[in-house]
């Protein structure tokens, strides 16, 4: 049986394009912030787990090496995790296993990404594709999203207008987030009028290129109870990965993400959640593109399959709605430093603790869920946290 694990602190900083801090300085910034917020010193931490997606973004291989000193990890057991965008949640899952196994009592999870110092993030993304069969075709992220979004809209009758409403919601929510890179007050018409990258994905359906870092501190049950009267537990984790050959996967239509549903099946089983729509109070959903928030809401059971359009039409996922999604602004409004998308989980924690400031939703948050997505559009990682 895994031991219980709680989140006891988060470290935040502003997300920006062309951040002046180096990777090392960003890591130090959030590590110190997380220690201060949890009233711990670096010597209390047993182990540090790092996450970042692709070193080619920052152009420095093994970029985690500088995070050792800067996280307070000197001469401690440290390791780095990397599963592209889903690093955002697979890294805290790795930290969770360090504590749930009984190996360590206090583990820092530190995710960072410096994306904006290369001259083409798209050229970096292109190096992820298969070298013999896919890369020569010239596939890039916008057109791959077009392929996937077209299949999704075709399968479920979702509209561009419904996608646009997600952008308006998330960028609007970011106006309350002091760490946000791209807060914007938009109308649906603004989004619909922005240029197409690849139908149905438009410029304002996407997230920006971002530098930034986040930290979380995880504690064993005994230590968590010493630190706080109100621990926020990790109640369930799940991961699912499909084949990178997206032209011949088990889910033949590309509109429904079998691997994402699978990840959720695992976390629901572990967290004992039967009816996410009734039992989840708050969600931070991985939204690099508007339609991805919609697909992930469906996969996580936050709405019915094919029901994400209705969910946004009816205002269910608005900040003051019955099941708010991305009140922080999400990746669209806060910024999308791939591996440091762990911010989604940080905001779930802050919402549960009532520490989300102007982003706080007007309801009690006892159960919250966050996901991370990436790899070759085939890896989903999910974590649900909350009170007993």
């Amino acid at each position: 049986m895994p031991k219980r694990v709680a989140i006891v602190g988060a470290g935040m900083q502003k997300y920006e394009f062309r951040k002046e801090q180096t990777v090392e300085e960003m890591v130090f910034d959030v590590a110190r912030n997380a220690l201060e917020n949890s009233h711990l010193s670096k010597d209390d931490i047993d182990s540090v787990v790092f996450g970042s997606a692709v070193d080619a973004f920052c152009g420095i291989n093994n970029s985690d090496k500088v995070a050792i000193d800067a996280s307070g990890g000197l001469l401690k057991p440290t390791m780095r995790n990397s599963t592209s965008g889903s690093t955002a949640i697979s890294t805290p899952i790795l930290g969770y296993t360090h504590v749930a196994s009984g190996m360590h009592d206090l583990v820092m999870v530190l995710c960072y990404e410096k994306m904006s110092e290369n001259d083409s993030a798209q050229a970096v993304f292109n190096t992820v594709y298969d070298e013999a069969f896919v890369r020569p075709i010239g596939l890039n992220v916008p057109i791959q999203c077009g392929l996937e979004a077209r299949a999704y809209l075709h399968k479920y009758g979702i509209t561009e207008r419904q996608m646009a409403k997600v952008s308006v919601k998330n960028r609007g929510n970011a106006l309350s987030n002091p760490y946000a890179q791209l807060p914007m007050k938009l109308t649906v018409e603004d989004v619909l009028a922005s240029p197409y990258l690849s139908w149905p994905v438009k410029l304002l359906d996407t997230s920006p290129v971002t530098d930034g870092a986040r930290a979380l501190i995880l504690a064993s049950e005994d230590v968590a109870r010493e630190l706080t009267d109100d621990p926020i537990w990790i109640k369930g984790v799940g991961r699912g990965a499909d084949s990178v050959w997206f032209m011949g996967r088990q889910n033949k239509d590309l509109g429904k993400l079998d691997y994402a549903y699978l990840a959720v099946f695992f976390f629901q089983a572990k967290a004992g959640i039967r009816d996410p729509m009734a039992e989840i109070d708050y969600a931070e959903v991985y939204d690099p593109f508007t339609y991805k928030e919609m697909q992930h809401c469906e996969a996580m059971g936050l709405c019915s399959e094919g029901g994400a359009g209705r969910m946004i039409d009816e205002g269910i996922s608005l900040k003051d709605g019955p099941l708010p999604v991305n009140a922080s602004g999400g990746l669209q409004g806060e910024g999308n430093p791939i591996g440091a998308g762990m911010s989604r989980l940080c905001w779930c924690y802050l919402q549960a603790k009532g520490q989300a400031g102007a982003c706080q939703v007007p309801k009690d948050v006892n159960n919250a869920v966050a996901n991370g997505w990436g790899g070759m559009y085939q890896y989903n990682a999910v974590m649900v946290i909350g009170r007993d």
Binding site: S120, E131, A132, F133, P142, I143, L147, L197, S243, M247
Partner: protein, 151 residues
């Protein structure tokens, strides 16, 4: 508000050339494509699935028990996308198009360029066919593109 002074930066570049093995399965696939304009897949003798792109093993049965089969140079358009940007990020006047094609006789398919059509001519589920290069070289661009076909 006065703009604060930016910290210094230094310029750098990483330029490394590679020579990638296409592997045992890729060698047969690209050789047949170059020499005979044939699209080949590997069929798992246990579950019967035909893999394109081919592999020397079946990931579901987890065995290396495959035979080579020819698949048809035509199939069904599963989805498609047009892009108004080149892959190096330049804005384009005319879009270019990619599609995912489920090849007839296989359980997989190829992602490839779609041409001789405009986005409004394309529909999910329509038949498409491969157009081959005249002087093939043994790589995936020996298929120039797919185009709409008659049923």
């Amino acid at each position: 508000m006065a703009k604060k002074k930016a910290v210094l930066s230094i310029d750098g570049e990483i330029q490394i050339n590679y020579k990638w093995s296409v592997g045992k399965a890729g060698d047969r696939f690209f050789t047949e494509l170059r020499d005979h304009k044939k699209i080949m897949g590997t069929k798992c003798r246990q579950c019967g699935r035909v893999l394109v792109p081919p592999r020397i093993f079946c990931e579901e049965c987890f065995v290396e028990d495959m035979e080579w089969v020819e698949v048809e140079p035509r199939g069904t358009l599963l989805t498609f996308g047009e892009s108004y940007f080149s892959t190096d990020g330049k804005r384009l006047k005319e879009p270019w198009m990619l599609g995912i094609v489920r090849l007839k006789g296989s359980d997989g398919g190829l992602i490839h360029l779609i041409s001789e059509s405009r986005p409004e001519d394309l529909k999910i589920g329509m038949p498409v066919e491969a157009v081959f290069k005249n002087k093939p070289e043994g790589n995936i661009m020996d298929i120039l593109y797919f185009r709409p076909a008659n049923n």
